[in-house]
C-alpha cells in the first residue's frame, strides 16, 4: 500500500491550556529531528495534530520511528484525495481493493465533513461511500457497532483524508516539558527503563553513574556510556555524570558491618546525586527501584536509604514485575547492552546475605564514625566527569574512542 501521509495525534497534554503551544512545538521539533533521514517528507502542524507528507517515502520505517516520539498518542497512515465526491468514491474503492480483504469482513464508514461547504453532509457521505463499496465488494458486511474495518473519510477544504488504521504510539509528554531530575544509572536492566519512563513523562533526565575503578572495569563504564547513548535517542541529548566512588565505597568495608554495606553505599550515592542535583538545578532523583526485587529494594531498605536525601525520590518501576521491565528494556533497545556481564559498583563487596531490614540507628552511627565521609562525598562530586551524549556523536568526552570513523 502506498500512503501519501501520516497523521499524528497528540496525547493527553493538549488539554493543558497555556502550555499547549509550547508542548506542540516541542513535539514538532522532535518529529522533525527523527525524520531527518527521510529527506523527502514534509511536515505540517495543526491543532492537536501533525501531518507528515511522505512524498514517495515508504510509510513503514517512519511509522516505527514516530511510534517512539514522546507526546504522540497515535498514528494513521492516510491516502489523500481531492475533496470531490467522485474522487473520494474512487479512492476508497482503490484503497479497499489493495487491502485484499477477507471473506465477510464487517465494516462501516465514518465520514467527517470538516469543510462545511462540501456539498454532502457527513451522514450522506457515510451512505455514498458505504453503498459504493458494498456494491463492489461482496465480502463486506455492514456493522455499526464493532466493525473490523472502520473506514474514516475526513473532508477538508483543500483535500480529503481516507484511512482506517489507528496505530497506538508511545504517548506521554513532549520531551523536556516537565522539569529536570537526576537519575541513578547503574548499567543494569532497570535503571535505563526508569530513565525512559521518566523521559516519556516529559522529565529532562541527567544520568549519574558511580564507578569504582580498579574494582570495576573500564568496560563497565563504557557500557553505561553506551546505554546513555541509546537513551539520548529518546531525549535528543543526555548529560551523563560519572562519579568516582572508590574511596567512599571502600571506606565502608572496614566497619565490621558488611550486611549494611549496600545501605551505606546507596545512602552516599543519594547524597552525591543530591549535591549534583543542586548544582544542575534538578528537583528530584529517579531510581530504578522495584519493590522487593533485591535486598536494597525492600520497603525497610527503601525507607532507610531514602532518608539520606530531602529531594523527592521518583521510582517509576516500583510496582512493576521484572518481566514487564525486561519487555520494555527490549523494546527501547537497552536490554542487550544491560546484560553484558561487566561488574558495576552495586555488586562489589556485597555479602552473601545483605540486610533486608537495615537498622537506621546503626547505619547512622556507622556514618558518623567515618569522620571524613562528608569530605570524600564532596571530593567525589568535585572529581565527577560530565559528558554530553547524542545518538550519533561521541559526545564531548574525555574518553577517546579507538573507533576512527574514517576506517569504516
Amino acid at each position: 500500500m502506498i500512503y501519501d501521509m501520516l497523521l499524528l495525534r497528540f496525547g493527553e497534554f493538549i488539554l493543558k491550556g497555556k502550555n499547549r503551544r509550547r508542548f506542540e512545538n516541542s513535539v514538532f521539533l522532535h518529529v522533525k529531528s527523527v525524520l531527518e533521514p527521510y529527506p523527502k517528507v514534509e511536515l505540517r502542524n495543526e491543532f492537536g495534530r501533525i501531518y507528515v507528507y511522505l512524498n514517495g517515502e515508504s510509510a513503514a520505517e517512519p511509522i516505527q520511528v514516530l511510534k517512539k516520539v514522546f507526546g504522540i498518542a497515535s498514528i494513521s497512515p492516510v491516502i489523500v484525495c481531492k475533496s470531490e465526491l467522485e474522487d473520494i468514491l474512487e479512492t476508497s474503492y482503490r484503497y479497499l481493493e489493495e487491502m485484499n480483504i477477507q471473506e465477510s469482513t464487517t465494516f462501516k464508514v465514518s465520514a467527517r465533513r470538516v469543510w462545511k461547504k462540501f456539498g454532502h453532509s457527513s451522514h450522506e457521505m457515510n451512505h455514498h461511500v458505504g453503498s459504493h463499496l458494498l456494491k463492489n465488494f461482496e465480502m463486506l458486511d455492514v456493522s455499526m457497532n464493532r466493525p473490523a474495518l472502520d473506514l474514516r473519510v475526513e473532508i477538508r477544504e483543500t483535500e480529503t483524508y481516507i484511512f482506517y488504521e489507528v496505530i497506538p504510539a508511545v504517548g506521554g509528554f513532549p520531551r523536556g516539558s516537565n522539569g529536570k531530575a537526576m537519575l541513578l544509572l547503574s548499567g543494569g536492566i532497570d535503571s535505563p527503563v526508569a530513565a525512559w519512563s521518566s523521559m516519556r513523562r516529559g522529565l529532562t533526565t541527567e544520568c549519574v553513574h558511580f564507578y569504582s575503578y580498579p574494582f570495576t572495569s573500564q568496560l563497565a563504564k563504557e557500557k553505561v556510556i553506551d546505554l546513555a547513548k541509546v537513551l539520548s535517542g529518546y531525549a535528543g541529548e543526555i548529560k551523563l555524570h560519572l562519579v568516582p566512588f572508590t574511596e567512599v565505597q571502600t571506606s565502608f568495608t572496614g566497619q565490621g558491618q558488611d550486611k549494611l554495606i549496600i545501605t551505606l553505599m546507596r545512602r552516599s550515592m543519594l547524597r552525591i546525586a543530591t549535591l549534583l542535583a543542586e548544582r544542575e538545578g534538578a528537583l528530584a532523583i529517579v531510581t530504578g527501584d522495584s519493590l522487593g526485587q533485591v535486598a536494597s529494594q525492600t520497603l525497610s531498605s527503601m525507607n532507610a536509604i531514602g532518608r539520606a536525601t530531602e529531594l523527592p525520590l521518583l521510582r517509576p518501576l516500583v510496582m512493576m514485575d521484572k518481566n514487564e521491565i525486561i519487555s520494555i528494556a527490549k523494546d527501547i533497545g537497552t536490554y542487550d547492552l544491560s546484560i553484558q556481564p561487566y561488574e558495576d559498583c552495586c555488586t562489589l563487596f556485597v555479602p552473601d546475605s545483605p540486610a533486608t531490614k537495615p537498622n537506621l540507628r546503626i547505619v547512622e552511627s556507622i556514618e558518623r564514625s567515618i569522620t571524613n565521609l562528608n569530605d570524600m562525598i564532596l571530593d567525589a562530586v568535585d572529581r565527577t566527569e560530565t559528558m554530553i551524549l547524542t545518538p550519533n556523536g561521541n559526545g564531548n568526552t574525555k574518553v577517546d574512542s579507538p573507533v576512527e570513523e574514517d576506517w569504516f
Binding site: L219, P402, W407, F408
Partner: protein, 386 residues
C-alpha cells in the same frame, strides 16, 4: 596487463589497504584481553559488525565472522546438518555449487546424510518444481548459490526461498552469496534466507576474511571449538584489522551496487557481442545472468592454451573457477549446465570489475580475435577447413 578475473579475486580498494595497515599497526591487542588495548579491539569489532549488518539490513548479532567463504559455507552446511540431525537427515543442494559447498555435502553423505543434488537447466538455473519435488518432512537444509561463479547464472533465490518455506517451514535455507553481493540487490528477509555466506576478497576487501549471516534464533554446531568468540559459533582470536577492512569494503561495495550493475552490464553486453561474432567461439552466458561474468568456449582448444595465448597479449582471464582450475577433469558445473565435454574443457571466463574502460574492452576484443585467428588453424576442424 589487464585483469579480467574479478570473479576469482578483486583488487582491494586503496582505502581498504590503508585501513588494514593502520588498524594492524595500532590495534594488535587481543579482543579477549580486558585491558584497554583489548577493549579497543572489541569496539572496532563491534563497529565492524554493525557496518556489515547494515549493508545486509540485518542485526549485528546475526553476523558471524569467519576466515572466508569456504569456512562460512562449511559452518553453515555441516553446522546446520549436525545441529538439526534430530529433525531428519535429508539435505538438498544443486549440481552447480562452489566446491566448498559441494564437497561439504559429499562429506555429509559419507557421514550418513542423504543428499539430493538438483540438476539445472541450460541457463544454469534450478527449477522450482525440482525443489518442490525434493523437499520432504525430514529435509533440514537446502543450499543454493545466488550467482554461479563459472557461468554467472542467477538462481531465483526469492522464489526458491518462499517455496522451501511453503513446503516445509522447518527446512533451513542457505545461500552462498559470494558472487552476488555488490553485483545484484540482496534482500535476505524477503528471500526467507536463514544462512548467507560472503567473502571479502570478492568485493575488494582483503583475503582471509568472510562472514556468515545466521538468522536470529538459529543454532549451528561449531566446527572450530575453543574460546567463546563469535557467540560460540566460531572459536579463535578475532582478526581485527581484516574485520575492519572487510566492513569498509562491504559498505563501499553495497553503496556502489546499483551503479555497478548498470554500468558493468553494458560492458558485458559489448563483450557478448564480439564473442558471438568471432567464428569458433561459443558464448554460454547470457543477458539474464550476472553483470560481471562472461563464460564462453573454444571447442577443440584446451582452455589453458587460449588463456595463455591471451596472457601473452597482456589479458588475464580464467579457466573454470580458480579454486579448481588445477584439476584436469572438465568442469562439473559446465557439464551440468548441458555443455558438451568439448565445450566444457575449453571454457574461458572473463569477469569484470567496476573500473574497466571502453578502451580496455576494445583491447580485449582485439586480443581475442588475434588469439583465435592464431589458434584456429591448429584445431582439427580448422585443419580440415584448409
Amino acid at each position: 596487463m589487464i585483469y579480467w578475473d574479478h570473479a576469482a579475486s578483486t583488487p582491494p580498494y586503496e582505502d581498504v589497504i590503508r585501513t588494514l595497515t593502520e588498524v594492524m599497526d595500532k590495534h594488535y591487542g587481543n579482543p579477549s584481553s580486558i585491558h584497554q588495548l583489548g577493549g579497543d579491539s572489541v569496539k572496532l569489532i563491534k563497529r565492524s559488525r554493525e557496518v556489515c549488518a547494515n549493508a545486509l539490513h540485518v542485526k549485528p548479532s546475526e553476523i558471524i565472522f569467519t576466515s572466508g567463504a569456504t569456512e562460512a559455507n562449511n559452518l553453515a552446511i555441516k553446522g546446520a546438518a549436525l545441529q538439526y540431525m534430530s529433525r531428519g537427515k535429508h539435505l538438498i543442494t544443486s549440481m552447480v555449487e562452489h566446491a566448498s559447498v559441494y564437497e561439504s555435502f559429499l562429506q555429509l553423505q559419507q557421514w550418513g546424510f542423504e543428499v539430493t543434488f538438483l540438476p539445472v537447466d541450460s541457463q544454469g538455473c534450478v527449477s522450482l518444481e525440482s525443489i518442490t519435488a525434493a523437499i520432504r518432512k525430514d529435509t533440514i537444509l537446502v543450499s543454493i548459490m545466488h550467482v554461479n561463479n563459472e557461468m554467472g547464472a542467477i538462481q531465483p533465490i526469492d522464489a526458491i526461498g518462499q517455496e522451501i518455506k511453503r513446503c516445509n517451514a522447518l527446512t533451513l535455507f542457505h545461500v552462498d552469496g559470494v558472487q552476488g553481493f555488490g553485483k545484484l540487490p540482496v534482500d535476505l528477509k524477503t528471500w526467507s534466507v536463514d544462512l548467507y555466506t560472503l567473502s571479502a576478497h570478492k568485493f575488494r576487501g582483503p583475503k582471509g576474511i568472510g562472514l556468515l549471516y545466521v538468522r536470529e534464533g538459529l543454532k549451528l554446531m561449531p566446527l572450530l571449538t575453543g574460546g567463546s568468540q563469535e557467540s560460540g559459533f566460531r572459536a579463535g582470536t578475532e582478526n581485527t584489522p581484516h574485520l575492519v577492512a572487510m566492513a569498509k569494503a562491504m559498505r563501499m561495495t553495497s553503496e556502489q551496487q546499483p551503479i555497478f550493475t548498470k554500468n558493468v552490464s553494458i560492458q558485458r553486453d559489448r563483450i557478448f557481442g564480439f564473442i558471438r561474432d568471432i567464428k569458433g567461439l561459443h558464448l554460454h552466458s547470457n543477458e539474464n545472468g550476472a553483470p560481471h561474468i562472461v563464460q564462453f568456449s573454444f571447442p577443440g582448444m584446451k582452455s589453458e592454451v587460449l588463456m595463455h595465448t591471451l596472457e601473452l597479449q597482456g589479458m588475464l582471464v580464467s579457466t573454470r573457477s580458480a579454486c579448481s582450475s588445477k584439476q584436469t577433469e572438465p568442469s562439473r558445473v559446465l557439464i551440468s549446465m548441458g555443455l558438451s565435454h568439448e565445450e566444457a574443457s575449453s571454457g574461458i571466463r572473463i569477469s569484470l570489475g567496476d573500473s574497466h574502460t571502453e578502451e580496455e574492452i576494445s583491447q580485449l576484443e582485439l586480443a581475442l580475435r588475434k588469439a583465435v585467428e592464431q589458434l584456429y588453424p591448429l584445431l582439427e576442424k580448422g585443419r580440415n577447413d584448409r
